[in-house]
Each structure stands twice: as C-alpha cells, then as structure tokens.
C-alpha cells in the first residue's frame, strides 16, 4: 500500500524506537520513544522515499492520569511526495525533556517555544527556550489539564 511507505520504512529503520503505528481516517501516525527523535526526524527529512521537508506543526497533548503523561506531536509534510505523517513522542511527567528538532527544521524554533510555554516540556538543544505567548513571570503552564481555566496571575493585580 503506497500510503504506508513512511510507516513501513520507519519501523524497519528504527525497530526499537517505534512503539506503534496506525492509520486512522487516512492519517498515518507513528508513536515513538523520545530518545531517538532527532535521528528519526533527520531520517524522515532526508530519505529519498520520504523527504518530509515541511515541519507543519508541533504541539503537545496532555493525557492527565496516563503514564507517560505527555505526547509531543509533530505533523510533517512531504512536498515531493504530497504525503503527511504524524509523529508522536512520549514524554513522562517525571522527565520532561526531549531533544529539540530545530537543527532539523528551523521552523521548529517557535513551535517548541510555544510547547514549552504552554506545557512545560523542555526541548534540549533549543537555542532560545523561553516563554513566547505568555510573559516572563507567569507561573505554571496554562494548557496542562490541571491548570484551572480562570486562575489569575499576579501581573496586573487582584482585580483581574
């Protein structure tokens, strides 16, 4: 099947790192361990059958109560093959680090900063990992499921 070329090649190349693959509603997904994420991304970008040259999106999903709690989700697109793939790297709450993919796609720079800002995942090797949407001095990471929706922060006083 043409569509699953990516997943097949990925599972062949990294048998230890790929935890599972699936296809749902036409979206290819590979779940991987976080240790080799940069190698996997480099492979996806450079392999002539894959050539995922666009890093479209990077985000984190918080599955509160599950271990590992966080998933870093990468959406990649290959212009040459007109194909998409989703990578999900598992990150546990006790060790919130993962390798940065900025050396692979420079586009990851801001997306990783945002993920750090919103979820507190630390991207190792990121050139400039600091808050992007919120301000310095904001406490906590608001998109975590255990962060209250209406919690107020000290920046502008008790009225707000």
């Amino acid at each position: 099947m043409d569509e699953s070329v990516t997943l097949k090649k990925l599972a062949q190349k990294f048998p230890d790192a790929v935890v599972g693959t699936h296809r749902y509603r036409g979206d290819d997904t590979a779940i991987v361990t976080k240790e080799k994420i940069r190698d996997i991304c480099l492979f996806l970008r450079d392999d002539p059958d894959l050539l995922y040259n666009f890093m479209m999106d990077l985000t984190v999903v918080d599955y509160l109560g599950r271990e590992p709690r966080f998933e870093v989700v990468y959406h990649l697109y290959s212009l040459a093959h007109n194909r998409r793939v989703r990578l999900k790297a598992l990150v546990s709450e006790s060790d919130l680090t993962i390798d940065s993919v900025v050396p692979v796609w420079i586009a990851a720079d801001w997306f990783e900063r945002e993920a750090y800002d919103m979820y507190g995942v630390i991207f190792q090797g990121h050139p400039n990992l600091r808050r992007i949407l919120l301000y310095e001095g904001f406490e906590g990471h608001p998109l975590r499921k255990d962060y209250p929706l209406k919690k107020r922060q000290p920046l502008i006083g008790p009225v707000n």
Binding site: F54, D57, R84, R86, W105, W110, M118, L133, L134
Partner: protein, 396 residues
C-alpha cells in the same frame, strides 16, 4: 569617511518598535538593534493577543468551538469555520451534501478575497498610499455586504456548522455577486494602476524581504508567501477538499519571494477567487445543505417543536455536545495566509481533549529576523505587511 568613523565612538542602538505602533497592528513588539539605520538584530515578541483559544475549546462542546474559530484569523473567518468543521467531520467520518460543499467553497473564496483586499489595503496605507487603502476598503465593504447577506454578520460570521451550514443562499445572491464583482474588479484595476507600476511602491517592495524557496520551506512558509518564492504549493490543489478539484483555477507563483512578488501573488489570487465563486455558483446543484444525522446536525426548528425524537436529539446535542468517536485527525485547508491545519483529539466525550490550530502566520512571523536583518529600519514595514501577521491566529 571611513577615517572619521574609525575615531568616533559608536555603539548599537536598541529600540522598541511596538507593541502599540501603527505598523505592528497593535500586537507585536520588535526589539530592533540598529547600527545607524541598518538592522543588526531583531527580536520578535508576540503573545500580546493570547486569548487562550485552546483552553477555551477544551472547556466547550464541539459545536461551541465554532465562534472561537471565527476570531482566529478574523480577516478570513469563513475559512477558519470551514477548516474546523471539516476536521470534526473527518473525525466523525461523515460527508456533507454536495450543495453544502459548493456553498462552503463560495464562502471560503469570498473570505479569501476579503483577506487579500484587507492585506493590500493595509500595506498601501502603511507605505503612504492612502488612496489604495480607501479603494480596497470600499471593495471589502462590498464583499462584506455579500457575506452579510449570506451569514448575517460582517466579520465574525459563525456560518458553518458541523455537518452543514447555518442557512442556504439568500434570494438573488447570484445577481448580487455579479454586481459586486463588477465593482470589485473595477476597484482592483484602479489599485493595480495605482500600485503595481508606482515607482515609490516598487522601490519599497522590490528586493526587500526576499527568501529562497529552500529556506522558505525550512522555515515552514505556506500560502502566498511560499508561492511568491516559486513553490506552487496550495492545499486546494495538493490535497483538494470540498469541491476544489472540480474548479478551474490557477495557482499564481512568484520568482524571488520578495515583498513585491507576495503582493503580486495576492493580487492575482483575488482574481482567481472571484473565478472560483462564479464557477461554483454556476455548477451548484440543488438539494439539502445539512447531513441528515440528528445526533450531529440539529434538525429544523419546526421538527424540534413538534417531534419528540427531534427534541431529544436537540437536547442531547446542546447539553452534552456531539460525540465523535475517540481518535485524532489533522485536517488542513488553505487559509488566507497559508496552510491552516486543525489537529483534534477526541476521547469520545462531548468536549475536545485537544483542539490545536496550525497557524500559518506563526511560522511566517518567526522568519521576520531572517527577512529583515541587514536591511534598513524602514524595510520592516513592507515586510511585515506582506507577512500579514494576524494577531488572533498567531497568538491564539
């Protein structure tokens, strides 16, 4: 001259441009390090319009997310509506009726037209071409009149529903489209004459903010800014959704990726959008506009008032929300600025676990330092205009 400069004590000057500055559209701060007028370094600070979109979505039912999507890219809200609805429909595994698809295409293209009109108008204004602004704002008013007659609102429309649309076309819509497009084309020609061969405009735009195709891809550029570099990537062509595969339209591309090419690409896309609307109106079949699934799309009001099963479905979907099966999808559409992707995660309940938007201008704004470093301070203005950073989309 060099001799004198050697003995002078000089140091770089760091200035704040924004966050409240006419060019920064109110929501972004540039920390510019200058040597004379040359930009040595630029740090972009965003987040001044962070409104907690994702957190709000996670606390709303699937249908309640729709008004929030309006306010993402408020210059082209209908495309955001459509993108979200398509993503949820993909998650549900349903297909909408033919007429609905055509109507959505019409809505999207009207919105894209308004988006590009606004962009060029604002760019003209900020480069001193006030007449172009007035002309295109008037053209946008005309397009908004159409949108208003279709949806009932001018800016934040909330027109698309999961599994359908709010309403069908109003009466005499084709006639109105014909009249409006005639006028918009006339204004387009006027602005084309005012700007495209205008020496001042060209001097400010040509060669500024140029980027090669490889670099643009590495930065994650999409939309008009990528096409200006000569890469013909358009989601409407690459992965057609709705009925774009039946439409005959061109994808304009540029050569150098500079601001002038971005401007030309946008100008041409307006013409293509108008073509698509006309074709869609001509091809559109009759028929229903909503899926007949009461657990997804509310039934007509008469039925809800008179039939008990319709009432129960209505109650369940309003109180609990529609319930897509557990899973996750990514659906991309071509937004005003590029690939607008929705990544949704469902756990089978009435509220999304995750409702992520891939904002096209986020990646574009991230490349601002690359685009203007080494150029003059004044070059920030046209470059930032042509990036068309929309606060609601970039900061969410």
């Amino acid at each position: 001259m060099a001799e004198i400069a050697k003995d002078l004590h000089t140091e770089h000057m760091v200035i704040n441009m924004g966050p409240s500055h006419p060019v920064t559209h109110g929501t972004v701060k540039f920390l510019v390090t200058l040597e004379g007028e040359t930009i040595v370094d630029l740090d972009v600070e965003i987040g001044y319009l962070h409104r907690g979109f994702e957190k709000m979505c996670e606390n709303s039912t699937w249908q309640q997310v729709m008004p929030y999507t309006d306010r993402l890219n408020y210059v082209s809200p209908l495309i955001n509506n459509t993108g979200y609805a398509l993503a949820v429909e993909k998650l549900l595994g349903i297909d909408v009726p033919e007429r609905c698809k055509y109507l959505r295409v019409i809505a999207c293209e009207l919105s894209r037209l308004a988006d590009h009109l606004t962009n060029v108008a604002a760019a003209g204004l900020e480069l001193g071409a006030f007449t172009a602004f007035l002309y295109f704002v008037e053209a946008r008013e005309l397009v908004w009149d159409l949108i208003e007659s279709l949806c009932g609102a001018r800016v934040t429309v909330n027109y698309v529903r999961i599994g359908g649309l709010k309403n069908d076309l109003p009466e005499r819509f084709e006639e109105k489209v014909r009249d409006v497009f005639r006028e918009v084309r006339r204004l387009w020609k006027d602005v084309d004459k005012l700007l495209t061969k205008n020496r001042i405009f060209i001097d400010r735009m040509r060669g500024v903010g140029a980027i090669s195709a490889e670099e643009a891809i590495a930065y994650g550029f999409t939309g008009p800014c990528l096409r200006a570099c000569g890469v013909p990537y358009d989601v409407r062509k690459a992965q057609p959704y709705l009925v774009y595969d039946r439409m005959d339209f061109e994808v304009p591309i540029g050569e150098t990726g500079d601001n002038f090419d971005k401007y030309l690409v946008r100008m041409e896309e307006m013409q293509q959008s108008m073509r698509i609307v006309e074709q869609a109106l001509a091809q559109m079949p009759d028929g229903p506009i909503n899926v007949r699934m009461p657990q997804v799309r509310m039934e007509p009001k008469e039925k809800i008032y008179t039939r008990i099963d319709s009432l129960i479905y209505h109650f369940k979907t309003v109180i609990e929300g529609i319930k897509p099966p557990p899973g996750e999808v990514y659906q991309a559409v071509e937004g005003g600025n590029g690939e607008l992707g929705f990544y949704l995660v469902s756990d089978g309940s009435g509220k999304p676990v995750k409702c992520r938007v891939r904002p096209p201008c986020f990646a574009l704004t991230a490349a601002m330092p690359r685009l203007v470093k080494g150029r003059l301070l004044a070059d920030i203005v046209p470059t930032f205009d042509m990036i068309n950073m929309i606060g609601g989309e970039c900061d969410r």
